[in-house]
Amino acid sequence: MYRSHVLVCGGTGCTSSGSPKIIEALQTEIKKNGLSEEVAVVQTGCHGLCALGPIMIIYPEATFYTLVTTEDIPEIVTEHLLKGRIVTRLLYKETAEDEGLNSLNETDFYKKQHRIALRNCGVINPENIDEYIATSGYEALGKVLTENTPDQVIQSILDSGLRGRGGGGFPTGLKWKLAKGNDADQKYVCCNADEGDPGAFMDRSVLEGDPHVVLEAMAIAGYAIGASQGYIYVRAEYPIAVDRLKIAINQAREYGLLGKNIFNTGFDFDIDLRLGAGAFVCGEETALMTSIEGNRGEPRPRPPFPAQKGLFMKPTILNNVETYANIPQIILNGPEWFASMGTEKSKGTKVFALGGKIRNTGLVEVPMGTTLREVIDVIGGGIPNGKKFKAAQTGGPSGGCIPTEHFDIPIDYDNLIGIGSMMGSGGLIVMDEDNCMVDIAKFFLEFTVDESCGKCTPCRIGTKRLQEMLEKITTGNGTLEDLDKMEELCYYIKENALCGLGQTAPNPVLSTLRYFRDEYIAHVVDKKCPSGVCKALLSYVIDAEACKGCTLCSRICPSGAISGKVKEAHIIDQSKCLKCGACMEKCRFGAISKK
């Protein structure tokens, strides 16, 4: 028995900011102080508050330390662990009270959250199957194998109203039902862990923080549809997730929770890992299966649907990591429990990866129906540096930018589509006044052009033309006619592309045209970029009153565009200026600005 447990976050964010070194230092200090028998150090998954990492929680007090460095460790060990005195300067501000500690669940960041998919993340050691089992892990698998028929399992999932968390929102139970209905000698259960949306890391956190939940859910799915083999297709760029999955699969095999005759019921199920190799299109279900088969990951036309002919031409279901993470809880708590959360058509919770211009960058899980305003202003802590909010981007390269006027709609699949965006896998990037929406649209189109597999013409050529038109606009050569042409092309691509990637690729353009048309017009009519991002449209000017004539700028200008006498105001020759911004960076008097 340990009297104290020190939980250190081992998610990617905290690992990147040095948590492995902190664990090392902790163990050394604990040993030095002779506490090895009394204090246990546990590496956990993500706590969500990535902006303040590395994060450490000490139980039983539940002290939440943020931004911990290795230099803090001796103090934490000698003060807190040895003498029982909390190191207040490291406490998460909101939990620090005059009289003691505030509960973490009372803080703005956590109080509106409801963690189902992230239930175990940051709570258990993901590399230890016993800790998963101790939090009722594999109980749901045992229950379905011994008490339920496959049809009952599918009915529970249908009744829960769970929809695919990968973005499309297809009812999970229906997918399973279709696959069960197709007879075949072999069927497959696949897990989509190829989280390709830039700025989204929900699935990664589940895999890193609670890998067994995915294995358990896949086995339940295997039982429901009659499959004995599963594949997890995971990004190779997620080394920690891959390692923990490997460990988890081996442990589950050792315990007889994967393999032959699970729970002595005659049910066989095993799982293999397949690593992705960096292709966004492989997040599309048919492309993912083509990739597992060992080919170029190009999508196939549907029908036939995967439930009929999927992986190796056998009936297959493919669900995303977060979808699976909900399954065991639905089985244990009942579909009614799950369906009691959320909106009419979107049940349960959704995990979002909050990023961009926001204070509390990190991972949050909220009930469906929570408003964007609550997520951004309350949980996210608002926009830093006193800047003005401009847009929230959801759905990654397939989604759209949402302006302030839609901030009070409840988040669910259908509402987001209604305002021209989509749920996507859950990336939520906040942008402020310094972000140019035309530039953002161009950024996403560059991404799509790069990632288009090239199989169908509307996507291969259409997205390239869109990108060229955006390039033309951001370099000041666009016309109003281009805007109309672009819109027409967008609808054409949406209607004709082969797979989800192409069909949704125009969304960033359409949504910015819809909500930020004035910015496009500023680019094409006034030849100005209101946010000061598009370089070709900027001009650097020197304020004659603020300029002291120190000559520094004229000396560092790489193109010799700045002239002026000592102690007199300098001038920038716009025809020579390269717009590199070096002068503005170096000016000590703030006399240079871009317009």
Partner: protein
């Protein structure tokens, strides 16, 4: 995936080839074995020059054209060797809105190479990458296993100097 021309002559060793042949023998009969074999081959050689692709094509009895088609499809596979220090700049959305585009430009300028290329002395290679999931530290770059976060353009010289 950068320029396709091979700047460095192939210098595979007998040991590397033996390791590759073993990988192929072990996995040849797995379903969809080509991808995992290519991934392991890249671990062995560091990249996938045409010579390595030929070995895989011959041993697995798959047309070289199919192997090449797969290698060029996935961005993780590289036809060119990587530098001793692999510099990757995250151009995911969260990093991009916080200015990683400028950081990437600065690196191209400093190293004198483009996306996916390697410096002539083999020391640095540069690539843009998609989200690495450390959005709390945006904008982020990595040099091999080291992660640098909350960057500004001014930090670049100092970071590169550590490896020079």
């Amino acid at each position: 995936m950068g320029s396709q021309k091979n700047t460095v002559p192939f210098a595979g060793t007998k040991e590397q080839e033996a390791a590759l042949l073993k990988v192929i023998a072990d996995h040849k009969d797995d379903k969809g074995a080509l991808m995992p074999i290519l991934q392991k081959a890249q671990d062995i050689y560091g990249y996938l020059p045409i010579e390595v692709q030929s070995i895989i094509s011959n041993e697995m009895n798959v047309p070289l054209e199919k192997v090449y088609g797969i290698v060029t499809f996935y961005s993780q596979f590289s036809l060119n060797p990587k530098g001793k220090f692999k510099v990757s700049v995250c151009l995911g959305t969260a990093c991009y809105v916080k200015g990683s585009g400028d950081i990437f430009n600065k690196l191209q300028e400093n190293l004198g190479i483009g996306d996916g290329d390697c410096t002539a002395d083999g020391k640095f290679s540069l690539e843009s990458c998609r989200c690495i999931g450390a959005c709390g530290l945006a904008p982020v770059l990595t040099v091999n296993e080291d992660v640098y976060g909350k960057l500004t353009v001014d930090d670049i010289d100092g970071i590169l100097a550590k490896y020079k």
